[in-house]
Every structure is written in C-alpha cells, then in structure tokens.
Symmetry: C2
Subunit: 502 residues, 2 copies
C-alpha cells in the first residue's frame, strides 16, 4: 500500500458554485485518480479528517466517497481505511501515457454523406431559398390548441406505438386528402408517415436499392434526392429534362432499378410532365421492372386550373411510390411527410422505420390529423394559394421591368418558386455569393446539375417574402448584376464543385 502522495489540503471548494460540494470533491478526487496523481493503493483521509481539512460538512465527503466506491475508483480495506482501487493499476497508467491519442475518422460512406452540398440559411437575410412556405399566415393559435388537446388526452394511441407507419387518424386523413386533391388511389394502410419528405427519400433509397444499383435522377434535378440516392449507394444516371419535357428515349440511359421524378412541377425547371410522357414512363418502368418515386413536393400549388393529378393514380402495377410533405403547405419545421406505397411494402417499411427511427411524434401526428379533419388545412391551403399567386405575379412583374436584361424569368403555373435563367455568361455561384453580401439568399441553378455542364441562373423562392421584401430583393439583385456587368468578369465553374455559400 503506497501512501497518498497528494496533499489533500490543497483541494479548494468553490462555495459560490452551482455544483454541489460533494460533487466538487468527487470530481477532484476522480480526476486525480485518473491522472495518476493518486496511484492505486493510495490511502485517502478519513471522511472526518477530510471534512475538517476542507471545512465542509462530513456528509458531503461521505457522499463523494460513496459515489467513488460505487464506480470502482476506491475500495475499502478492513483495518486500513479507504484506498484507490488496486484493480485500476495497469489500465490507468497506460491510458495516461503510451496510448496514441489520434481519433477515429468517419467511414468513406459517412464522409460522402457528410460532404453533400448544402445551403446554409441565415436568419437575417431576404430569403429566396426555394421550398419554404409563408409562416406569418399560419394559424398557430389553432395549432397550439390542437397540440395541447392531444397532449392532454393521455390516450394510449398517442403514448405508445403499435405501428411505426403512423397514427391511424393521420393515415386516414392523408388518404382522403390525396385522393381528392391529388388523384392518388390508396387505402389508409398504404400511407406511411415519416419525418419529412427527405426522410422518406432516404428510407426508400435504403430499402429499394442495393449499393451499385442504378437510379435515374432528373438532370437538372433535386439536390436532396441526389443526396439520398448517393447515401443509399446508388449509381445515378441522368434523365435529362428541358422545356420540351423528359428525355425518356435517351439511348444512353442504363437499365434502372429506381426512377426519381417530380412530374407535377419539375425541380428546378418547373416543367409539368405531359400525360403521354407519364404513360410512357410507366411503360418504361414496367419494362425494366423499376420503382418510380414520384416526389410531389409542391403539387398542391397550381394557380390556374386544378393541380394535375399524381402519377400514382395512373399506375396499375404497384410500382409508383408517392412522396408528399406538409413542410411546404404548413411549415418546414413541422417535420411531417408521407409516402403512399404499394400494399406489399407496408410491412417491410414498418419494420425498417423501427430501425431508422424516421417517424414523427404521435402528439404532432394526432394534432395534424385534427387540423386536416376540422378543415383548417383546406382553408389554409386556399389562402396560401391566393397569396402565392399574388406574390408570384408581383415578382414576375418586377423581374420583367427591372431584371430582364440579365435574367429570363418565365411564369410558373405551379410551385412556390420561379427559375431565372441568366442571359449573360455569369457564374451563378459567384452571383449568389455577391447577392449574399447584399443580404439576399438565393440558390444557384447550377447546383442542381449532377452530370452535365451546368446552366446558370437563380432559383427564387418567393413564398415567404412580403411585397416590400420582394421589391427590396429585386432591387438588390439589380445592383448585383450591375456589379458583374462592371467587372466584365466571368469564370466558368468547375463541374460538380460547390462554392461555399457562407
């Protein structure tokens, strides 16, 4: 038994600290033991002596010793008192000295997932980032009341999961909604509630693809889908989209296992898939026996006529999976989206969700079901559709009068963003960087190109901007373009690289 080498009276207790005295003593002794200052076998003072030395209550020392005893740092030796555990010897010293202190690294897959391009957002900028709805007009009082009611209910159905596919009320409400609003044909059992559309895409990539499988992704196409497909190990083949539609007859396209499309309002071009293209795509998918993932990310917003029905309703071979979200109709931090899957997928997806944890809290699901069933959702959607139509018209008008020299901004019958294509060979990442300096967040079009030489322009999400903000943003963009004109500079972007936005 070695004697403690540490003068215990050098330990100081901070009486003004929030940390309880016994915890301070425990922390100090534990640290000394781990750092080797109190080697195994070192004898600790008696609780009485130590309390007197520190001028603290003896109970505080007893509590600290008890915890150290429970955790194995010290032991009690009959007839000798309390000593640092002998068992610690080897490991303790080794840990302090000879071990390499390098940290492990991410896996290759992890690094790939963690390095996908992303667009940071800034709370103080005029936010043109597409995909964010207006929240000013959202009935938060109603929402708060519905949430509180479900939380108070204490009923078994919001406390325990019997299915990972979602709350029965919400699955039913969604099934009814998509049937009427989107022409989707399904039973409530085919509805899978997930923590947002992105989670749904991630889940589908993992359960429908094996690493190395080919997926068709629209080119240009949605960054979030690309990231989910890559994270699932897919090889991506570009299904090219232009104003003329989808290049479904492209002979270079390899046989796919999955086809990701945004037929109701193509991201980012805004093109709507014609019925004959839809039928041809179903035919192709059937030929290859491939899945179709139909991302209907903002199919609800169509300003003239009714929204175009979803492809899912045309499918008679159980290969179309419909992806919907409330993030663009209510608010993005709600984190509730849904998949409509063929019946055969329900059971395996339920099990997969038990592993991936991509399911939303039941209280929120219950409240959302009430929000839909009590008519608040339909009312809100109708109001937003009118509001966004006005905002789009205003933005279009300002772009035409003030920015048409630099950007061609066609109207969009649907969606909550406009695409402005540059008329001059500016690099849109540089323009976006310059715009950020003017307090404007906008997404460069080129970021949506995965395979081809990118086109340049800006995606202008106008849903969240009031008219005065739209005006300020357009004026700001005009200044940015003037700067670029003045510089006469132009650098061709390197393919596939992202310039950091912040």
């Amino acid at each position: 038994m070695s004697r403690a080498t540490l003068p215990f009276d050098t330990i100081t207790i901070e009486r003004s600290s929030d940390v309880p005295v016994h915890r301070q003593i425990y922390d100090r002794l534990r640290s000394y033991i781990l750092r080797g200052l109190l080697p195994p076998g070192s004898r600790l003072p008696s609780t009485r002596d130590f309390a007197a030395t520190l001028s603290v209550a003896r109970n505080s020392v007893i509590a600290a010793y008890e915890q150290l005893l429970i955790e194995g740092y010290i032991e009690s030796k009959v007839g000798f008192g309390t000593v640092v555990s002998q068992a610690l010897g080897r490991s303790q010293s080794k840990l302090q000295s000879t071990l390499p202190q390098r940290s492990p690294e991410l896996s290759q897959r992890g690094a790939m997932i963690g390095n996908q391009p992303h667009f940071g957002r800034s709370p103080r900028k005029l936010n043109f980032h597409p995909g964010y709805p207006e929240t000013e007009a959202f009935p938060f009082l109603v929402w708060s009341r519905l949430l509180a009611r479900r939380a108070r209910s204490r009923s078994e159905d919001i406390l325990t999961y019997f299915s990972f596919c979602g709350h029965p009320d919400l699955r039913e409400a969604i099934a009814q909604y998509v049937a009427v609003a989107r022409g989707v044909v399904c039973t409530p059992q085919q509805v899978i509630v997930v923590t947002g559309a992105q989670a749904g895409l991630d889940l589908l990539a993992r359960t429908l693809l094996d690493p190395g499988d080919t997926a068709w992704l629209e080119e240009p196409g949605y960054i979030g889908a690309r990231a989910a497909l890559l994270a699932g190990g897919a090889r991506i083949a570009p299904l090219r989209v232009s104003e003329d539609g989808w290049s479904l007859s492209d002979p270079e396209l390899p046989a796919p296992r999955l086809i990701y499309i945004t037929p109701s309002c193509q991201w980012p071009t805004g093109v709507i898939m014609r019925l004959e293209e839809r039928l041809q795509l179903l035919e192709l998918a059937s030929h290859y026996n491939a899945w179709i993932v139909e991302d209907d990310y903002d199919g609800e917003y169509r300003f003239r006529g009714k929204p175009v029905s979803a492809m899912q309703g045309l499918d008679s071979s159980d290969r179309v999976i419909y992806v919907g979200t409330f993030g663009k109709t209510l608010f993005s931090s709600l984190r509730i989206g849904y998949l409509i899957v063929p019946t055969a997928l329900v059971e395996p997806i339920d099990r997969a969700l038990a592993i991936t944890g991509q399911f939303a809290p039941l209280i929120m699901q219950g409240a959302l079901a009430d929000f839909i069933r009590e008519g608040h959702f339909a009312t809100h959607l109708k109001r937003m559709r009118s509001l966004y139509a006005v905002r789009q018209a205003y933005l279009l008008q300002l772009c035409t009068t003030q920015l048409s020299e630099w950007m061609n901004v066609p109207a969009n019958e649907s969606g909550i963003q406009l695409l402005g294509r540059f008329r001059r060979p500016f690099d849109d990442r540089c323009v976006a960087q310059e715009a950020a300096l003017h307090g404007i967040d906008a997404q460069p079009l080129s970021a949506n190109f995965n395979s081809d030489e990118p086109q340049h322009g800006l995606l202008l999400g106008y849903a969240r901007l009031a008219e005065r903000e739209i005006q300020a943003a357009v004026v700001g963009l005009g200044e940015v373009f003037h700067t670029f004109d003045a510089q006469h500079t132009m650098s061709r972007p390197r393919r596939g690289k992202m310039v950091p936005q912040h």
Copy 2:
C-alpha cells in the same frame, strides 16, 4: 377520328356521394380513357348535351372537361369539338395489355432491414416489454402548456432550421443535464438531437461504418443496436458478457472499427461495467483506433447510490459517442434522443441529418428544453425513481415467492427491467407465446443472442405496471410455467430464428 364507342348515358352520378359531381364525371371519363374504352380520337359530347344526359349542371361538366384538358386526357379540335388526345395512343393501349404486371421487389438490403426480428405490442395485454416508462404519472398538463406556448410563440427559432443538430435551448439543457447527472463532459455544440436513440444508432452506423466493417456487439446484446449495425452493413463480432463482466481479452475478437456497449446497465443482463473494465475498453479502442458507442439507455435509473458516471467522461481521445434518450425517462412516443459526439463529428453529422431527416420537430424540442430548465424533468425523474424502486421490489418479492421454482430473478440496482433466467430447459419463445395467450407480453431472453447458443429466460419490464398488474402478471406466468411442467415438453430452439410473437 373515331366515334366514341361508349354510350354516355350509362354514366350514373351518385348525388348522395361526398365526391363532387364534377369529380365524379372526371373520374369516370378518365377511367374510360385509361382503360381504352374511349380510344384516342374518340369524340366527347358537348358539355351542354352531356349535362342534359346526366341531368347535372352544365358547369359540372365544364369543370370535368377542363381538368381532363389540363391533364392531357382530352384535346379541343377546332370545328369538331372535344376528343380524347391522339398523343395517348400507343402508351395507353400498351399499358392495358402487353406489359408484365409484376411489381418490383425490395432490394437485398431492404429485405434484410425489413426482416429484422421485432416485437409487436398489443394494447390490451399486461405489458412486460422492457423499455417503456410509466406514463400515468407524467405531467401532461404541464407538457401541453409548454407545447402550446412554444407553438404560439411564432418565433423564427421554432419555424426554420438553421442547424440540423437541434434547437439551441435543448442542446444547452441537455449538455447541462448530462454533465451533472451522468458525468458527461461536453459543450452544447457537441449535443446532437435526434428522433430517438434508435435513430441515433442508425445514423452512427451509417456515418462511422462502411459495409463490411467489423463492429463489436455485446453477446447477449440489444436487438435494436444489432439491427442498426446490420442495416449499416456491419459484420458483427460478439463481445461476450456474463455476470463476471465483459470478455475484453477474448482472443477471437477481430479488430473492430466500432464497439457498441451498454456499460451502465448491460442489456439484457443488467451487469454494470467495472471501472477497470472501462479503462481497459478505452485502451483496446485506442489500440484499434475504433469508435466506442456508449448506449446509456436507462443509466438514469439507479436505486441505490447515484447513477454510475458515463464512460464518455473517461475518454480523452475523442472516440466515445454517448447515446441518450428521453424515451425512457418521459414517454416513448416523444421521439427525442441525443448523441454527444466529439467536436470533429458535429459538422458532418449536421449534414448527414439534412439527408436522413432524423431530427425532431422544433416545437417539441423547445418545449422539452423548457421542461428541463423549469425543473419539471428533475422532479419527474425523482418521482419515477422512487416509484420504480417500489415496483421492482414488489415484482422481486412475488417472483421469489411464486416463480422461484422456474426462474432465477436477481435484483437489479439499475434499469427498469429484471431478467428472469429459467431454471428448467424451457424454450423461452414458447413460454412467451403461451404467456401471450394468458394476456401477458414478455420478451424472450434468447432473442438477444446473436452468435451463441441462446440462454433462456424472460425480460420483465415492470415500469408501466401498477402493483395489481404486477400481481396479475406473476400469477399468469405461474400458470404458464405449470402448463409447461405438465407437458414435460422441451424443444431446443434453432439458433438465430425467431418465432413470431403474434
């Protein structure tokens, strides 16, 4: 131009239906077109004639035609009226006849993920399933008030994501809590909020492992961790655990990239890892440069003394990732868990979460932060600790007096379940099946074995059961055991197979 072959007067409108008349007309015509009953070029009646035939308002027919026009099913021919679109020709007929109607299948990975063993729960049974806290005592009124307050606030921080790692208030509250309660050393920035511990395990397996990498999993060990590791493509090597501790010196263990452990209360044995084992494990992990994932799934519940501090606090080489959850301290459908990660992982995990969508709604996060900061969490935890201690003592007493012939049920200083090991060679899956017939849900011990010949017993999660329910469940189990005694039957289980529980 072919004439329509369809007698339009056979279309019937259900006036009592909830579906609007124009939608019924649209649905009927669309279906006829897609089924080839109205071939391309077929002429439709004028809206006036059709309205008269159906005895409906002409506006209803106009609305139906407009939608069919928008969606491309019909077109307007000058001087001829409305016809089924010619463009549909080829695809439409093909879709109806020659195409194979087989559906695609899950990927191999998807099938593996979807086939992991699971335990269904039944709302009407005495629920011994481990891991579920008592919810009767949860202050739902407080919770409902906090939720409503955050929802009403409309503040930017609960409406938009600036970081995917979680709400700043909650990250701070968690960092403070784990420092005091669990000896975890971290800044709020190291806290990553996820949709439950399971989501955290899934995320870690995907970002820290590549397919084929070796992970050590305790044997017996937690099913959910096994599923997450397998879903991430890991090869699993068994780190054997017995009452004597962890077999850290097992020469057959291959070099790991990740080590999953439950040191505070080993799942399912309840063994607590000794300090010297913890130090040895850190040494081993350092030697292999492996990650340690420390799942502290119910480290909060220790009935004698204070909870044992987490391993994370012993780590000086940034390799321990701590996994915590509120699912066992508050209620499971809350779906909020957290990871404490080394600083270098924060940024890549933030990006990964943007892709996987495993993040909790901000309103819930904000309300939970308030719940912790206003002291409700500490109060609730203290009450539950007392309640569970009483329940464990009661269950132990009844098991000793009534079931000791068949099961050895030692006390557990920590956790919210007891492990009963069979004294006779019963197959625990058969016992669990029989118990289910007696209205009792319990998990067979053997399900937690991944590599070795399983031991048999039952995991008894007592947290949710009131004393009268504990009594009824023990009586029920006694009857089950009597049945097995009477049958004198015993079938050795096949390794690794699960008998369906329902």
